[in-house]
Amino acid sequence: MFKVVLHRLLMSVPLVVVVTLLTFVLNSLAPGDMAMTILGADGTREQYEALRIELGLDRPLLVQYLSWLGHAVQGDLGVSHFTKETVTSLLNPRLGVSVSIMVGVLVVCLSVGLMLGVASALQGGWVGRAIDAFSLVGLIFPSFWLALVLISVFAVTLRWLPATGYVFFSESPKDWALSLVLPIFSVAMYSITSIAKQTRDAMNDVMGRDFIRGLRACGLPERSVIWKHALRNAALPVVTVLGLVMIGAISGTVFVERVFVLPGLGSLAVSAALNKDILLLQGVTLYFTLMTVAINLMVDLSYGWLNPKVRLS
């Protein structure tokens, strides 16, 4: 298992480098640069050139990137030229918001998605079809549209939940939870469907296998056959999909945080992109990529734990 962790961490280094390099190059190529945006229309040419040198924008792109990387490894992500605060101090408070959403999505996804998938696999007939139809909802509507509908129903009409805004856990745990319900479900709808579908397919496949017949032939009770043996075997392909789904959920938070006006990393990414605040955007990218690495690592560990062939090699 240690080898699994090591392998994943080694593979993550090129991932982080590629992603941050790619976003750095692309954002630097964008028309207009930071110096221009800071000075606005009034600046003189000399001021512009001087600011460029001061910001280090005159150096070759690769040198700029390596300089950033070198600092990043030491924990220094630079200073945002718009707010004059360090990037890390801008990002860290927002990390909790995004992580809260992601963890919430994971929990909802696993519990609801798995249940729906197993139910759909075992119940043929109209129950199965009803579950399929319900699951379809999350698949075909964009997460931000669902968010709007949920707001319209639960916040505007029923007034059960807040429409926008985020309450920190330290201020009020109850309000914190309430403020997260709609955002989590908006992101999770798609994930629930994917997990439900994958679980259903995996369960159908497993239930057709010989060892299920062998277990029944020994007189084992059906609930043990399904919940202990079948689900355990079906979990393997589901875990792989879960990783992909969670990575997709990261993208989902970008939209949902904007709709619900949540101070998370996703909404920051959009404004940083629109403002061409390169250092801030690099910081956000790095954080997101690290979240991806964490997800992949958890998937690998789960897979290794579930699959004896991997665990023992």
Binding site: G128, L139, A217, L220
Partner: protein
Amino acid sequence: MSAAATQTPNASFMRRLLSRPLAVVALLWLVLLLVLSIGAPVFAPLDPLEQDLLALKQLPSAEHWLGTDALGRDVFSRMVHGVSLTIAGVIEAVVMASLLGLSLGVSAGYFGGLWDRCVQQYVSLVQSLPTMLIMLAVLAVFGQAMLPAMVTLGVMGSAGVSRVLRSVTLAVREELYIAAARISGLSDAHIIVRHVLPRIAGPVIVQMSLFAAIAVIVQTGISFLGLGVAPPAPTWGSMIFEASASLNDFPWLLVPSGGVVALTVLSFGLLGDSLRDASTESWSRPAVRQSVKARQAIQPKDLPKDSLLSLRDVTIVTGTGSATRTLVQGVNLDLKQGETLGIVGESGSGKTLTSLSLMGLLPPGVHVSTGTAVINGEVIDLSNEKRLTQLRGATVGMIFQEPMAALDPCFTIGHQLAEVIRLQGLGAAQVQAKVMALLEQVKIPNPQDVAKRYPHQISGGMAQRVGIARALASEPRILLADEPTTALDVTVQAEILALLRSLSQSRQMAVVLVTHDWGVVADICDRAMVLRHGQVLESATVVDLFHRPQHPYTQALLAANPHSAKPGDVLPTVDDKLMNITGVAP
């Protein structure tokens, strides 16, 4: 074979696809969108940009079919004019994803080796990329154009597509006919074109449909954020954004904006699912077990006095109504304790189904239409699944043909044995002791070591011994063995048969042995019956059956057995005429 098999596989595929109404509806919707994207002004004559300040936020009416928005613009017109952007974006993304995914996936799957490993690393890297961040970066560079963003989406999506295509290509590459083609002298390019591409055509189209669904949503999201398109051009995404601004007083706008996206995504998704179902020749739902009402058991007459197990008039069918096929017809069987009965027949004779019916473990879609079992004097109708389930393990045990596949790969041998033993209500220490005792009884060396192993760590012969141990754990009086040694080497087979023999004697267990191998019948069976096309042709003691076979089919089969033939020129064969004979031996 049915008449349908004479059609080319592609023709029957189209037929299957078009027979699903949902697929047809989905196709029609997508065709409609295509038409609208080309000729928007024809279908929506009202100017999408024209603002009618006197008709703000109106619900649908005769003049404005989907109402108007906050600036008085006609919603229906905006929707129709937005189609072309969506369609264009989808096409760009899908073409990119398919071309790249196809070339990477097929080449990686077919050629393997270093290239395959590189592609796999590339794919897992790309799948780990945070999509929206890359899209934001691309959009920052090419702000007002959708094309670069959609192409980038295509590149990122190609990773998932290539993964699927790679595994399909791998599956094809493993087929024996590919090896035969290589041996016959076909070049790789020739093999790919001739054998691989036709096989992946289906999955490619499925992946394209499913990815198109994703592309619609991403494209809508980009325009929702206000990127990718120069304002004030109407797009589906910007319509959703406008709906969000009017959420408090005019939520109606949500309906057309979200509805049209949903319908399009749904159509792509349905099309993809239908294509997948049509190409794999099976429906996405598995055949569900029919629940048959338990019939009243009828006491059979003329039962032998000392029979432990008797079956009377077992008939097994598949399908319903006019499509019913009889797989097993009127089988009778009697078995004494300590006796081994062989059921011998070729493939399709119904021998396995007969044994499964006693356990209530028939596959989905197959059920018993009549049949009575008498076990230990108790009369049970074979439709009574509840009673049969209760008998599993403790009264009737079973071992199967593929010993490794009969064990759960996720649990250790010891755990799986303990699980069954615990059903008897023993304490933990007793359970452990019994696990060891069982493993020793089936003559497994180093039982402590083996108990800690997983099924993939033991050989086939050992797995079958474990299977026997598990079946014996609940001390059944009757053991059903379905081709237990067919998958094993002949030396291992001899040992397993010897084991079964000794266990049957020491425990006075009745054994039903299903096999196609006459040598196995001669080895351990006391009596045997010959099954063909679901009917019992002959039943006798083993000595009588081999030395004085009554039925012409049995005689021909015994004569045609290469193992009984004298080494000479030509082996006697079963005449084709003889293959059609039915009827029971006198």
